[in-house]
């Protein structure tokens, strides 16, 4: 009998060792994209009052760190590329167990563009994106339901419950970040660093009223019901973006649709302060950093005035948000320092954290005539000092444009870049 107990205990120990070994290995092998993006959410030691959810138009356009800096609102961005309403529905149910917010803001883009996996219409290019959204969520009944509902007969759906099935063969791709991940400081968001889009930021004068009977639209009410049952305020938004006619019609049609349902909706598709010249990303229909800052301020006003979200700046227990913002500021400075393009430097400096000194050679026609350059200078408003200088030099080299970016609080120079303007435009020295 004693021997049996001893051997039984041995089996249990062995199983425990095996489980630990496999768990540790799967954590090492798994893709770190989700960990990098959501580490600060799970590590947060305070309440998170607002959660943003939705597609890349949320992910790139609403910046929780700026919301903290200017409004003292604690928030996290759970948006990601191509994330559909069905996915948001299940993700929300899991993440509120971790941090129950006062307000959930859900991006309603893509009601007609996306379908969950149904009858073989799955898009392979989305698997990686969906893993970013689901990998941090531990196995649960809700995740099991999500797996079956959202992923349907997709053969790899069990990868979402047991992600080692997907990642076990990453052994051949392991790099330093797999061992020491660098967590994102953007609280789930990722602002876009480029500027320049030739598309028109179209303000609809009239629109076609649409019917909303798509699969995605079928989750509008369930999300609303969940929020209502859990005492969470819900706000659907249509974020500023450059998009097609169908989506424009959708944005405006939703006004009456949501009103009938009694669901709060904010049509932010067209905002006057947003400019297609300065605020959209190159090669994309998404807001860039400058546009995201403006939109975040708009959302901050809405959250403060309409939802009464508190300002936690200076409160005891919220020091970690200031520490996090300090790391975020270093990240912003690094981005400015690494940027080659003169337009991008000006765009990334459009922030209360920075003051810009722009010196230019008066004979440089680019500085005076390039529409985007001029608009980006104007975009900086009172944060920029513009000085014409003859025989301008940067590190003893002749240049036509010299941009100095300083920390607006300390006056410390954080970046300085000189540009020589040739036939191909400005080139960084």
């Amino acid at each position: 009998m004693k021997n049996r107990i001893k051997r039984g205990a041995g089996c249990v120990c062995f199983l425990g060792l095996t489980t630990l070994m496999l768990y540790g290995t799967s954590k090492l092998l798994e893709s770190k994209k989700a960990v990098v993006k959501y580490h600060e959410f799970y590590d947060c030691d305070t309440d998170i009052d607002v959660i943003f959810m939705g597609t890349s138009h949320m992910y790139n356009s609403l910046l929780p760190q700026e919301l903290w800096d200017e409004y003292g609102i604690t928030s996290y961005n759970w948006g990601y590329s191509n994330c559909t309403l069905p996915e948001d529905y299940y993700i929300l149910q899991d993440i509120v167990k971790e941090h129950k917010p006062k307000v959930v803001v859900v991006d309603i883009f893509g009601l007609f563009e996306y379908e969950k996996y149904v009858n073989g219409k799955y898009r392979d290019d989305r698997i990686e994106q969906q893993h970013v959204q689901f990998d941090m969520i531990p196995p649960s009944l809700n995740k099991y339901r999500a797996m079956n509902d959202v992923f349907g007969p997709y053969e790899g759906k069990w990868d979402f419950m047991f992600d080692f099935l997907m990642y076990h063969n990453r052994w051949e791709k392991l790099k330093e970040p797999d061992f020491e991940p660098e967590y994102s400081t953007e609280k789930g968001a990722e602002y876009l660093k480029g500027v320049g889009d030739d598309a028109e930021y179209y303000r609809a004068q009239e629109f076609e009223q649409l019917e909303f009977n798509t699969v995605c639209a079928g989750y509008i009410q369930p999300i609303a019901d969940f929020c209502s049952e859990n005492d969470i305020e819900l706000l659907y938004v249509f974020n500023p973006c450059l998009t097609n006619v169908e989506n424009i019609n959708a944005a405006y049609s939703l006004d009456s649709y949501m009103e009938e349902k009694g669901i709060a909706y904010y049509n932010a598709l067209y905002l006057e302060e947003i400019s297609s010249v300065t605020d959209f990303c190159s090669d994309s229909d998404h807001l860039n950093y400058s546009g995201a800052v403006k939109y975040t301020r708009r959302m901050g006003d809405v959250l403060k005035e309409q939802y009464g979200i508190e300002d936690h700046r200076g409160e005891e227990g919220y020091a970690s948000w200031d520490e996090s913002y300090a790391r975020y500021l270093e990240y912003k400075i690094q981005n400015i320092q690494e940027t080659e393009n003169v337009h991008d430097v000006l765009m990334l400096s459009a922030d209360d954290d920075f003051k810009v000194n722009l010196q230019f050679d008066p004979s440089c026609s680019f500085a005076l005539e390039d529409t985007r350059f001029v608009a980006l200078v104007q975009n900086l408003g009172s944060s920029i000092e513009v000085i014409p200088v003859n025989d301008l030099k940067y590190e003893e080299n002749s240049c036509q444009i010299l941009i100095t970016v300083m920390n607006s609080e300390t006056g410390e120079i954080v970046a300085q870049q000189g540009y020589a303007v040739g036939d191909d435009g400005p080139a960084r020295l």
Partner: protein, 492 residues
């Protein structure tokens, strides 16, 4: 439900735990239900075919047994032979219908200018295995080698026992039926042995067979692009893919059965260490070839009716073996080629011995044994090409490409790593093959490696188990990045 699926990892522990909780008397019923459930995961209608074969051979055996019991004197009762013949015809008839009907139609259309419509039948998985198993049982009863099983449910379990149902080993009724009637007590040692066997089987299947398949499928899928040395490497790897795939399955089956307290026969015994093709066929798919030996070769006269008849019998057996594997001429040629090898081997044996003696080569020297093993491997691997190609017409271009191979640079310029397997995975594959070679060489010496491991101290044992589990976990080919690779022998 295949052994390397999530469903099986949930199914098997659940079946095992409930099996040992239930009273002894009803355990076989639980196993029977589990086995049918297992089989029906492929297609519920397959269970009808399984049931039909079970009924036909159960009733046939009972009738034959009754006739044997009433038999007086030494003169065999003709009715026994008639009953046996009827049972075999009905039973093999199912196999013939599902497996060969379309083959016959295609050949009639091609060679006899008929215009018959194909039936497009789907071959129920494992049919070749359980039909042979039940046929063997019927013959055993008719020979008096064993008594007919009276309990229909126990007999049904013998036919459908899930570890070996879909890809063997083809068990003999004497061995497996007896075990169904035995008492099975849970034993940690037995469970440990079963699980270690399963681990080794998964290593063979997931780390070697399915990894090699990534390269082989790329090359054979487009052999015009991947010609010459690509094909040679793929063909060599195919020998290991089919070995590890099939042996892997058999070993997992053995392990799963062992956990449940059953002992299944060994199906592979280090076949690539063989010094002749004849020896290879004593070490490869042992259950099938022993079946053919006992139920076809010996009844045909074996080697007792002269040399010519012996060679003819060999060709008949290998012809049937080829057909058993598949209803295509490629399999028939594969089978006949192996039969031909054995005949030529035997015919040239005196000459080869004379040459060895003249050259002073000792029969048992390592060099001589290695040389023979390499030659045997080459001969067997040539026949595997027929096994792998999709159609007979591909054989000429494939062999021609290999014979005229000039693109040796694929090994030096890195091209070989662009045909489905990159350099890292090739390295892992080679390491795995070295481990397999060492294992088989040790086995050939009569050493059972798992017993050596079990004799070690606990820390060493655990280290080995954990290392094997971790290796399979990390380097196994599974998950959605690779489609769940079925076992090659399921198609038979």
């Amino acid at each position: 439900m295949i052994f390397n699926s999530l469903q099986f990892f949930a199914f098997f522990p659940a079946v095992t735990v409930i099996y040992y909780i239930l009273p002894q008397k009803v355990r076989y019923l639980w196993l029977l239900a589990a086995s049918y459930f297992f089989y029906m995961q492929w297609d519920a209608s397959y269970a009808l075919i399984l049931l039909f074969s079970t009924l036909v051979t159960y009733i046939g055996a009972i009738v034959i047994q009754k006739l044997r019991d009433r038999q007086t004197g030494d003169k065999p009762d003709i009715r026994i032979k008639l009953c046996l013949a009827a049972g075999i015809i009905l039973n093999l008839g199912i196999l013939a219908y599902f497996k060969y009907a379309d083959f016959v139609i295609d050949n009639l259309n091609t060679f006899a200018s008929c215009e018959m419509k194909r039936l497009d039948l789907i071959l129920p998985v494992g049919i070749s295995f359980f039909i042979f198993q039940t046929t063997g049982y019927l013959i055993d009863v008719s020979r008096g080698d064993m008594k007919a099983e009276k309990n229909p449910l126990k007999y049904a379990l013998f036919v459908s026992f899930f570890p070996q149902l879909v890809a063997g080993p083809i068990e003999r009724s004497k061995k497996l039926l007896a075990q169904i009637n035995e008492k099975h007590v849970f034993s940690l040692d037995q469970t440990r042995e079963g699980l270690v066997l399963m681990l080794w089987g998964y290593f063979l299947k997931l780390c070697i067979a399915d990894r090699a398949a990534l390269f082989i499928n790329t090359v054979y899928g487009d052999y015009e692009t991947y010609s010459g040395w690509y094909l040679i490497v793929a063909s060599v790897l195919f020998a290991f893919q089919i070995y590890c795939d099939f042996a892997g399955y058999s070993i997992i089956a053995m392990g799963a059965a062992k956990v449940l307290g059953f002992s299944l026969m060994e199906n592979f015994d280090a076949p690539y260490t063989s010094a002749s093709v004849a020896e290879f066929w004593r070490r490869w798919h042992i259950s099938l070839f022993s079946w053919f030996k006992d139920y076809l070769y010996i009844p045909l006269g074996g080697n007792k009716r002269g040399t010519f008849r012996k060679y003819l019998n060999i060709l008949i057996v290998f012809f049937c073996s080829g057909l058993w594997h598949g209803s295509q001429w490629t399999f028939v040629i594969w089978g006949l080629l192996n039969g031909f090898y054995q005949i030529v081997g035997e015919l040239t044996s005196p000459f080869r011995k004379m040459v060895s003696d003249k050259l002073g080569i000792r029969e048992d020297s390592i060099g001589n044994r290695c040389f023979k093993a390499v030659i045997t491997f080459i001969l067997v691997d040539i026949s595997w090409v027929f096994f792998r190609i999709d159609a007979l017409r591909s054989s000429v271009p494939v062999f021609s490409s290999m014979i005229h191979a000039k693109n040796f640079w694929i090994f030096t310029d890195g091209s070989i790593y662009e045909a489905g397997l990159n350099d890292k995975n090739f390295t892992v594959l080679i390491i795995c093959l070295i481990v397999l070679a060492v294992y088989d060489l040790i086995k050939r010496k009569g050493i059972v490696l798992r017993e050596v491991i079990f004799a070690q101290d606990l820390p060493i044992r655990w280290l080995i188990y954990l290392a094997l589990i971790l290796f399979i976990f990390v380097f196994g080919i599974y998950g959605s990045n690779f489609s769940e690779a079925g076992f090659i022998y399921f198609q038979f």
